[in-house]
Amino acid sequence: MSEGLLGSEWFRLILGLLIVLAFSQLNALFLVWLERKVAGHLQLRPGPMEVGPHGLLQTIADGVKLVGKELILPFKADRKLFFLAPVMVFMPVLVGFLVLPFSRGLIIRDMNVGVLLVFAFSTITVLAILTGGWASNNKYALLGAVRSVAQNVAYEIPLLLAVLSVVLVVHSLSFAKIVEYQKTVWFIFLQPLAGLIYLIAATAETNRAPFDIPEAESELVAGFHTEYSGMGFGLFFLAEYTNMFIVCAVATSLFFGGWNGLFGISLGIPGVFWFLLKTYFLIFVIMWVRWTFPRVRFDQLMNFSWKVMIPLSLANIVITAIVVKII
């Protein structure tokens, strides 16, 4: 996508949307496969092996199965909200792609409020989960929805505080500028605490273990999506993995230098590869964590958030502000 090709703004948007849609679906399918492979090998088993080479086509087969399944509406459920929720959970995820800086110039829209936009839209996910859980007319789903909201309050604040300390240094909310700033030194080295807090909070944001308390399959059966069948469940599932990609991509841009190589050494590898490499590595780490730890209880997550993450990130911001002022 060179500058010359992008004469019309509309062309650029539509092309971007198409690429995003295609990429997000393929990416989610790949991530589901990856998750199963990572889980498998961590547990000394091969994971899916039957469909395609090393089971690569397994998730596509599963997807086809999900599409073919009947959408069941539970008794006395709120029909409109019930079907709205899966759509609502997937929409904001797509918006996130608009501002992700895959490489220099490979951004659909480099807005000066890019960082804000991603986090503003990702919050809608919680609303969608609440809607889905509420509309299902199922107590497990409701409990999951309630937990999700409680969890949201706990992790959103440290998440944004951690991001803020980066923004304070760069003086910009634009992803491109933040990544440019990390040309030689990544922010994870300057702001290790903020980076760590971001990763923990991001795991919670995507409802991944050990913070998968709204789903908590051993407690709430499947939490908020207990009653969803077929593609209703499929959309929740795809959204979870796409969301995971987005938070990891954001983490890569904010803390791991985006398209930049380590300490400015790019080894001649194109920026987009650096970006994807780092993003997928972070995704792998999140998977690795999921398949290692037991789940925390939601009050413990709150305790951890209010007593550890928020004070530490606040302190981090204050120190950052002072250092920035002095320099």
Partner: protein, 373 residues
Amino acid sequence: MAELEKIEASDRVYSLNLGPQHPSTHGVLRIVLDLDGEYIIKADPVIGYGHRGHEKMGENRPYKQFLPNTSRMDYLSGMLFNHGFVLAVEKLVGIKVPERAKYIRVIASELNRISSHLLWFGTYLMDLGGFTPFLYAFDDREQILDILDSITGSRLTYSYCRFGGVSRDVDLKFIEMTRAFLKRMEKRWADYDSLVTKNVIFIHRTRDVGVIDRELARQYGVTGPNLRACGVAFDVRRSEPYEVYDRLDFEIPTGTKGDALDRYDVRFKEMQQSCRIIDQALDQLPEGEFLTPKVPQKLGPPKGEVYTAFESARGLTAYYMVSDGSPGPYRCHIRVPSFGNLNALNDVLPGTLVADAISILGSIDVVIPEIDR
């Protein structure tokens, strides 16, 4: 509690039907929970979904034909239940058991105890949301099943013990496999420690959760590791030694508080003690017969009754049989440990969170078909 009672009057309380189909109810258990938010106000376990009438079956068949039933009550410690039943009948009829058979039974029983505890370990972690330890535990359990498979020919419902011995002698390959297993486990304990026991999330999920204290345990007849977790060193293998347990040197691990973490610790150490027992029993294993040849096909026990207690993986289990002199028992009752252990939940669950309820249910290690019989 006063605060809770006030809430109970309000209409905020709703009931949640946990089970019979639920990922963490270990068999078919249903608990009707009255909830305020996520806090449990009242818990009413509903059991009996797996009732097969084993006691009635025992009454209308000869002792020998009841053998296969015994390993189907608590399917996780089938060998132990099998063993206990054989002990009871031998005591009633007065059958002498060769020394070698006694040792073989102890080894097989302890192997079964470890396999049962390993399965509990895995599923408990799964209840807490950790999936991977489950598969590691199953890897180890698979070794035990292979070992038991090599002598009994079965992997779960063994039917291995016979009146006056065991059905098949052990060979050198069995001893080799068992020794290799003991060696393998030495390394595995450290792995489990790093992966689970020391894990800060795990500790937070279990510490001070679901405390069963000494008095509560006594009131409900809680036995086994759940009782030992609150500091009572009561183990049938010690208090009424059967077979050769009095010749073997092993400790009875106890806890202090009786919370889920203590129960975890006790079971974990128990597995290590079982390894010690097996090691010694293998050393002492004498040569000789594995089955008394003189046992008649049709048993004619004297009139009277027998009550034999033994330590299954879940606690004090006992066979109570009344004989009228015929080849089958007049009355056959089985005292199962999970019954009391689960019963205690009536008092333990109120005031906890749903998430903790799952943790508690997992930590007391119930096998529902054993309760239902």
